[in-house]
């Protein structure tokens, strides 16, 4: 019941006219960002972050998180109408969404996807409302070893659970750590890795990395492919919406399963993209219409959309409760906290209740606002995509440059952004994942200080990470995640040999 009281308090913070306007502005910008190629949740939030410096933190986070909701919903519009996923997490939506649009059922597909997104996000927010305070309370007991083991779990699950080759994840992550290590050795206070260049004394801001890697890199990639957008038109009227809503309750089983998958992969840092693929795969296997998937089944739109929004939303749980982001976008929001002068971590619930409960309340309202906006404005957003790429590309690069400059008011950052853009392009071509690099850049300092503090406590004895059941189980879980590819291969081999025996 305490949760509900705090939530009501949060609503009282958010429900001011100023915040409501910011909310709609945020959602609107977010959908545009989600629809445009080259701009996504992470870099959209990073670019707009400087605009919020003068706002009170609660209003700032309302606007930024609403940009994120908008981007989560908006990615589906391009997948369904244009067969181009605006965001990596909406790739699975194209499998059944685009065929539906081809059959002239675009309105139905969009309504399905928005409603499913809304359901997924809502479930995740309810989970956050009740679980996050408990997790934060629990984490108040954490010392440096516990915190390091949680960071370690984050990094290991990226290596073991990612789609990419484990060693590519390792290299990408370590480059992030190397960039994070520039400037100051936190324990001894000495300068390091600056090689005498005064320009390097500011270090590398991860916001610049996000804007360059995801924004400029994506533009270069789409330019290489020479995209021309040809899409289906969609008109949504209340009749289509109501008819679709009447059909949707049949898929409650799929929705629930996908919701659980999404929440789970969102909290453990797996992210929205694997969640949407996994949910699609599971739905295909379990559904009686599984064989027809890929030809325009509503169920095939419901599954990935519920999962990716549930995952994207629940990725904020570790960010709020522990100060550890589960996705690049959550990392950018975390960077925002630091800039607004808030210390992320379990104490946030006690010290800044306005901020935390305002954020959670804005998740409920923001999702409702997004649902209303997307259902009413689809033709407008689809029209944005018809603007030729040779206009969009320079405009996006200009916007990225403005965003990169305003982070630190430094012109050299714009150059770094271009360099990161080229790196992002090459990484994408070679199948190196970008998210681990960004997370390592954000968490590098914090993870290092947690590690070195625990080493100081234990006088260099690594056994401190197994010294009580709490650290021990988290570290154990991390090692399990790290070696998961090997374990999975072993299980597969055992199973294969057993089935051979059975065949004999």
């Amino acid at each position: 019941m305490e949760g509900i009281n705090s939530l009501m308090y949060g609503f009282s913070v958010v429900l001011s006219p100023y915040n409501m306007v910011l909310m709609f502005v945020g959602v609107f910008l977010g959908i545009i960002v989600g629809v445009l190629p080259g701009l996504g949740g992470a870099n959209g939030v990073a670019i707009l972050l400087p605009l919020t410096f003068t706002m009170p933190p609660a209003s700032a986070i309302v606007m930024l998180s609403c940009i994120y909701w908008g981007a989560l919903f908006g990615g589906a519009i391009t997948s369904i109408l244009f067969n181009i996923p605006g965001e990596p997490w909406s790739v699975a939506t194209t499998f059944d969404g685009y065929p539906m649009a081809q059959q002239g059922r675009a309105g139905e597909a969009l309504t399905t996807s928005f409603t499913a997104s809304f359901f997924g996000a809502l479930c995740a927010v309810i989970m956050i409302t009740f679980i996050a305070p408990a997790v934060a309370n629990f984490a108040l007991e954490f010392g440096p070893p516990e915190f390091f083991s949680v960071y370690f779990l984050t990094f290991c699950s990226f290596i073991g659970m990612g789609k990419e080759k484990p060693f590519k994840v390792v290299v990408s992550m370590m480059i992030g750590f190397a960039l994070a290590a520039v400037v100051i050795d936190i324990v001894t206070g000495q300068l390091r890795l600056t090689f005498g260049f005064t320009e390097l004394l500011r270090g590398f801001s991860f916001l610049i990395a996000v804007i360059g890697l995801f924004g400029i890199g994506e533009i270069l990639l789409s330019m290489e492919e020479g995209l021309s957008f040809t899409g289906k038109t969609a008109r949504i009227n209340p009749k289509v919406v109501l008819e679709t809503w009447r059909k949707l309750p049949r898929f409650w089983g799929t929705a629930l399963r996908s919701m659980v998958i999404g929440c789970w992969l969102g909290v453990t840092p797996g992210g929205a993209t694997p969640a949407s693929f996994m949910a699609y795969g599971v739905a295909k296997r379990i559904s009686p219409d599984g064989a027809k998937f890929g030809t325009g089944q509503m169920e095939g739109v419901v599954a990935p959309e519920v999962a990716n929004n549930a995952a994207g939303t629940s990725a904020l749980l570790p960010m709020i409760a522990l100060g550890i982001p589960g996705s690049p976008t959550a990392a950018v929001l975390l960077g925002g906290l630091l800039i607004w002068g808030l210390q992320p971590g379990p104490l946030l619930f006690k010290e800044q209740p306005d901020f935390v409960w305002g954020l959670i309340a804005s998740m409920y309202l923001g999702n409702i606002a997004t649902l209303i906006l997307v259902l009413t404005c689809v033709p407008l957003f689809a029209a944005i995509l018809r603007i030729p790429f040779s206009i969009i590309a320079p405009v996006i690069i200009v916007i990225c440059a403005v965003g990169a400059y305003t982070v630190n008011n430094a012109q050299s950052d714009i150059w770094y952004m271009l360099v990161f853009g080229v790196v992002g392009y090459v990484f994408k071509k070679l199948d190196y994942p970008l998210a681990p690099l960004v997370l390592a850049l954000v968490l590098g300092d914090m993870a290092e200080s947690a590690f070195r503090q625990s080493m100081l406590i234990a006088a260099g004895d690594l056994r401190i990470f197994f010294s009580n059941w709490l650290v021990g189980s988290i570290t154990g879980l991390a090692l399990f995640a790290l070696f998961w590819p090997l374990i999975a291969r072993l299980i597969a081999r055992l199973r294969a040999s057993r089935s051979e025996q059975a065949a004999l």
């Binding site: 290299v171 370590m174 190397a178 290489e224 020479g226 320079p394 440059a401 403005v402 012109q411 853009g421």
Partner: protein, 119 residues
């Protein structure tokens, strides 16, 4: 710390190299990038670099105007008045948003042309 990080990068890269060298690559993916595609990539990258140099010289607003207009005219094959209109519109919108409404100052370069208008 940096030493260990560097060593892990080296070890990881060697393993990746071995995996890449021994893996069989499907025929369609052997080439990293085609020449035509590379030219399109540079068509974005080089003007973008010029744009950043322009920021140092004449500031972000003027540079953005010229960059968007030039990109549309040469690469998008638009007529010059369309290019100029979009370029002007975008940088004017940026100007209003940052300089006037949110009061975030953007770089105006060594040769500030907007100075003649009182900014």
């Amino acid at each position: 710390m940096p030493f260990y990080v560097g060593s892990i990068i080296c070890i990881g890269s060697i393993i990746n190299l071995i995996q890449a060298a021994t893996a069989s690559i499907p025929a369609g993916r052997r080439i990293f990038v085609e020449w035509g595609a590379l030219r399109r990539v540079f068509a974005v990258l080089v003007p973008a670099a010029l744009f950043v140099i322009g920021i140092h010289l004449v500031g972000i607003y003027v540079s953005a105007l010229v960059y968007i207009a030039a990109f549309m005219i040469w690469i998008g094959k638009y007529s010059w008045h369309k290019g100029l209109a979009v370029g002007f519109g975008v940088s004017f919108a940026l100007f209003l948003m940052f300089e006037v409404w949110f009061q975030v100052l953007l770089p105006k370069g060594a040769y500030n042309i907007l100075g003649y208008f009182g900014y």
